[in-house]
Symmetry: C2
Subunit: 334 residues, 2 copies
Amino acid sequence: MVTMSDVAREAGVSVMTVSNVLSERRPVGAPTRARVLAAVEALGFEVNLTARHLRAGRTDTVALVVPSFHDYFGEVADEIAPLVEAEGRHLVLERTAARPEQEIASLGVARLHLYDGVLLSVAALEPEQLDRVRTTKPVVLLGERDVPGRFDHVRLANEEGARLATAHMIAGGSRRILVLGGALETTHMMTTDRRAGWETAHREAGLPVDDRYVVPVANYSSAGARDALGEVIASGLPFDGVFAVTDVIALGAISALAASGLRVPDDVQLAGFDDLDVSNFVPPGITSVDPNHPGVAREAVRLLHRRMADAGAPAEHLVAPVRLVVRGSTRAAR
Amino acid sequence: MVTMSDVAREAGVSVMTVSNVLSERRPVGAPTRARVLAAVEALGFEVNLTARHLRAGRTDTVALVVPSFHDYFGEVADEIAPLVEAEGRHLVLERTAARPEQEIASLGVARLHLYDGVLLSVAALEPEQLDRVRTTKPVVLLGERDVPGRFDHVRLANEEGARLATAHMIAGGSRRILVLGGALETTHMMTTDRRAGWETAHREAGLPVDDRYVVPVANYSSAGARDALGEVIASGLPFDGVFAVTDVIALGAISALAASGLRVPDDVQLAGFDDLDVSNFVPPGITSVDPNHPGVAREAVRLLHRRMADAGAPAEHLVAPVRLVVRGSTRAAR
DNA sequence: ACCCTTGCGTATAACGATATAGTCGAGGCC
DNA sequence: GGCCTCGACTATATCGTTATACGCAAGGGT
């Protein structure tokens, strides 16, 4: 490896002069500067970022820590990357899927210190585990769990989005709406908050809430959704609408409906959540709650920058607004 | 930040003893060991990975560098991660999308040295740019471009997969098959290799090859595909099959076909490439070429480990086999 | 003539870990 | 008793950069 001192020797100057030429932290005379740059070019020198980090305490790198790389998180990551890069920093993704139940533990707090800041997506992490994380590293949390108050946090208006989608299907004539991927527990998490919105819409419309219409889905996957909805259909439980708690689940649902010869939206209306790309293109288009990824990304990055600039700033807890995108899988109000 | 020397002072030993306790590189007496561990616990010490890297030259981290985080690459990344972790290392994702035309330059060779090894996905990188990368860092290339012989490289059997998919639709009765996302150039890249397979299938069947059936798609996106196919339909060019060079494009195609009232597969057969999750669930199921992601991931990681263990090993160039997954978007042979 | 600034460069000490060579007492062997 | 080995622990140099203080000549103000 070619180091700064190699360059310094080649150019006949001290290492600090090389450093100053490259970082432009302090002025260097034109002839000296030229000789240094020539030496850099000739030797093919590249700065050692590790040494810089150790000494300068700065990596110019931000990590986004996600449970898995695909689908939802991949799309969000692509929104966040340009915003981080606009500030002259780099974004890298780390993943915790190995042990979803202990996101930080499996990652190791030590790794957090490799970065200037961390966006941590908390899907399965319990608040008390999070509370044990004692780090001064700037961290902004993303996700639908409750988190300790001292952390900055961006979450979605899950309940409101679910209410909008469900109410829309009720207005379109549905009276027996499944919540696919729902769960009966009361802990605040993505799935329970969205089920709560489904309930709210029912109550507001004066419709009964029936627990049999809450259908869990294994792994929140499309395959799990297809199987789960297939079983509901086979069971004979009557339904005329499906609120899928994610678009990935909606995709599994549309597959199961098609396999059973049920027409969307004529026999069954369908709505999802997340507004993934795919929802726009799967015929007849899946009505979905748009969580405004660009907006969430912008807020998260804004909070992180603020925290990096001022470690003592009071924590902010944002709830990003959502809106319903109506497509062919639901009917207009009757 | 609490350092090893804080721990050493607290435990009344030298820093090397702390290091030896934690790394288990050399034996430490039981009472001393206990005091050290107690001090680590009491102070909440976490090793500084940057300092370790600088001194020990090892990060236990592998990077996967991709053009973007979503869809195809996200799915591949989730396959690769467990394999890397199984060897006791960490996987992080870096992205180059900022300037697709200069993947390495935008990333900076310097960043490569932050990792023990790098899996570099070359989508838009020209061979001569790659040739300029002079690094001793273990690098394995993934992707469909030609690359300099000195690099390890894993690519797909693009032409063969395209040939299989096209031949299958010909056997099912199609005679005028579009290649959506195709390009007429002859440089080896994903899109041209797949177009070549489409041509081969036509020649083998004694069918004419018509350049008007090669339809480019903006950004290889679903939206671009929908627009492009919409224009073909509007133009009146007759066709009864679509070979989409990626599943993302196939998704746009199915949307355009539905919008025009064309039935799949009755009026138009459709096949894609990549076998993304979505293809399994979009009714009626999209026939697709399965590039065997797990196999590709396994080979890539195997090559990287080999290269990390032996920098002088001869470069391997692998072409991963593909197979056709037949679903409802195509007809059985007539 | 004197002092102070300014511009340009250098020498040296960190950052926090690990590698290497050493120290030191206890015990074994002849 | 003398010598050697061995286990347990320590002192110091080092990885490649940047922060800090300093040296030194040229120029400007009084």
